[in-house]
Amino acid sequence: MEKKELQVSPFLVFFIIHAVQVGVGVLGFQRVIMKSAGNDAWMVVIAAGMLVSFIIWLMYVLLNRHQKDIVQIHKELFGKWVGGVISLIWIIYWLLIGIVTLRNYLEIVEVWMFPTINMYMFTLIFTILVYYCVTGGFRVVTGLSFLGVCIPFYLFFTFFFPVEFAHFRNLLPIWNHSIKDLTISIKDMILGFLGFSTLLMYYPYIKHPKKSQKWAQLGNLLTVVIYLFILIITIGFFSEGQVSKQIWATLSLWKIVEMPFVERFEYIGITSWVLIILPNICFSVWAATKGIQKIFNLKPKKVLLVLLSILFCTSVAIQSRGEIALLSKIMSLIGLCLVFVYIPLLTLISFFISKMRRGKLEKSS
């Protein structure tokens, strides 16, 4: 457990979990999940949310037993070397989340707003901003996620504009797709929820961490509600053939918004989205920094500088949409394995090892 003054109140976990889950994924998840699940995609969102909720519960089971972050748990269970290597995989994964989020966002800015934008400059500004936030420590990053949830919330009201043109009959008939189709979609949908695994790293920074599970689950619920809301409007507003053409269906929804003082709402929307992206990147970078610092006992500022230069170089080096898609795919594959295979496994291992050790202790006494 960390020092009292470094910790945050348990209810803030609500904002952290939600802020880390909602990122660029919201802007374009519809096409991917509707490819196989069609108009039943809303069920997929609920199912994926339930799965994630279960994993969050598992994480709390694990963390509550150890009262440590995952790097220390690895050290305790697997020793210094093996544990260190596994922790390193997690750290790479978190850093990847940061890179993928940043790069995807940059692509949106490039395609939708400024095709000729200087990527180096823009990425550099973003990296400096992330550096500034992360050096502020965990409490600053948490505050950022609070603002990142509250301030852009008004954006969700703008999604009522498309309702005027929506054909909600498109939601019918329910159960039009096979379980197999839905399962494939669930796999794709879960990408939209990834990132919550940083909980494994910031658990010791929560006051009365056992009480915070309720808030974590609620944060996840809010994510599900937002995804569901946007998806239902998308299904009504677009026909299926039309969605399959929209790379960023959520942004395309904004194309219909017309207000007396603004002709195109996407520009405001995309710019506001920075506030949603920033805590997202900050958290993944923070978790990666903290992890490396714990494994190697290095100074956090130096670690952060190295990580941010990796972040900068990778996002600048990736050029085309194909490469971005490939990186996202790799990231999601690692994420799926780590979150849905490794975490349950680790919980089981931790359970047996602690039982064995207790057994030994009793024998020797």
Binding site: M113, L172, K255, R264
Partner: protein, 361 residues
């Protein structure tokens, strides 16, 4: 000392960011030409001619309509050619209306839609319309104290809001174009005695215009198209000299499809609550109101069934009967539906309620 250094470094970095390092192209409103309308016409097999309309603001606050005409193989290519004729670069961010010449619409506008979908600066609120006549001629005339893009956009918008024509814009066209079981429609604009008017509604089969309906049938189309309707107006003449015009306060449309995806009858129920706007045959008694209601019901039933027959013969489905069937069946099969659609008996049941008759008896 360190603080001073910090400030110096910061200000250098800041000025770097603020100056043009971001390489964002500035677009100052006074230095660009906002195209408000674009009209497309195929001039041969693969060359298109585009007439672009933009406003020219005069010193005395009036607006002059100006057009540019150029032809090439692709629409964005033509925009560059337009710019070659213009003092300022032409941009498409304020596009209000796109028009398609009638023969072009009959040939298919699929290829011409890509530029509107792909370009993030074009909104979904753009109106699409078919032009009867030469776009170059029609657009070069001045019709009001505004450019023709805004004029046409106001013309269409006004008529949608007052309920004379169905809701239409780029998004709706694309929705129906991509959806299975519904076909798009677009208003047809023509010139009559030097004025522009919405003369008909063009019916599309996918992206090709195959037919149109005349102005007197707008009412039937509108009450059958939307689940809920209002504002529509209709007039009939009974045998003898009785004429009546009504105003639809609210109407509800409901489909009854007992056995979807079969040849069984499909019933469209329409309930209309209306108000009399004009009546020429003396005092309205209860008896007469009943007669009027009945006459209206018969008229709507007869004409709308005829209209649907016509749609079925042309194998088009602008009313979205297919969509209603699709959302009611689990085994939706587009090919099979298209096969059975022309032979299905579709009947219309109308219940007309005249609930008000104006402020005189």
């Amino acid at each position: 000392m360190k603080r001073v250094l910090n400030i110096v470094v910061l200000s250098i970095i800041m000025s770097m960011f603020l100056s043009g390092c971001m390489n964002i192209k500035e677009r100052i409103l006074d230095d660009i030409q906002l195209a408000t309308a674009a009209a497309y016409e195929y001039i041969d097999e693969d060359k298109i001619e585009v007439t672009a309309v933009f406003p020219n603001f005069q010193p005395d606050k009036s607006v002059k309509n100006e057009t540019l005409v150029a032809s090439s193989i692709l629409s964005k290519e033509i925009r560059d050619k337009h710019s070659l004729q213009s003092e300022k670069p032409l941009v498409s961010g304020k596009l209000e209306v796109t028009l398609y010449e009638k023969k072009t619409a009959e040939r298919g506008i699929k290829d011409l839609l890509d530029t509107l979908q792909r370009d993030p600066s074009v909104g979904s609120n753009v109106y699409l319309a078919v032009i009867d006549g030469s776009p170059r001629e029609l657009l070069s005339k001045q019709y009001g104290n505004m450019d023709n893009g805004i004029f046409l956009s106001n013309l269409i918008e006004q008529n949608i809001e007052s309920g004379l024509i169905h809701k239409t814009n780029l998004h709706q066209f694309l929705y129906k174009y991509y959806a299975e079981g519904i076909d798009p429609m677009l208003p047809i604009i023509g010139r009559k005695d030097g004025k522009i008017n919405l003369k008909a509604i063009g019916l599309f089969d996918n992206d090709k215009m195959v037919d149109h309906i005349e102005e007197k049938e707008y009412f039937y189309l509108k009450i059958l198209l939307n689940r809920k309707g209002e504002n529509d107006t209709h007039a009939i003449q009974l045998d003898g000299n009785t004429k009546v015009s009504i105003f639809n306060i609210r109407s509800k449309r409901k489909y009854q499809i007992p056995k979807p995806m079969t040849n069984n009858e499909i019933i469209i129920q329409v309930k209309i609550k209306s108000m009399i706007r004009e009546y020429n045959d003396g005092i309205l008694t209860k008896q007469k109101l009943k007669e009027l209601e009945q006459a209206m019901e018969e008229d709507i039933k007869k004409n709308s069934e005829e209209m649907i027959k016509k749609f079925q013969e042309k194998k088009i489905d602008p009313l979205g009967v297919g969509e209603e069937v699709r959302t009611r069946t689990r085994k939706w099969n587009k090919e099979k539906w298209e096969e059975i659609y022309p032979d299905i008996k579709i009947s219309v049941q109308v219940t007309m309620d005249i609930i008000e008759s104006g402020i005189i008896e």
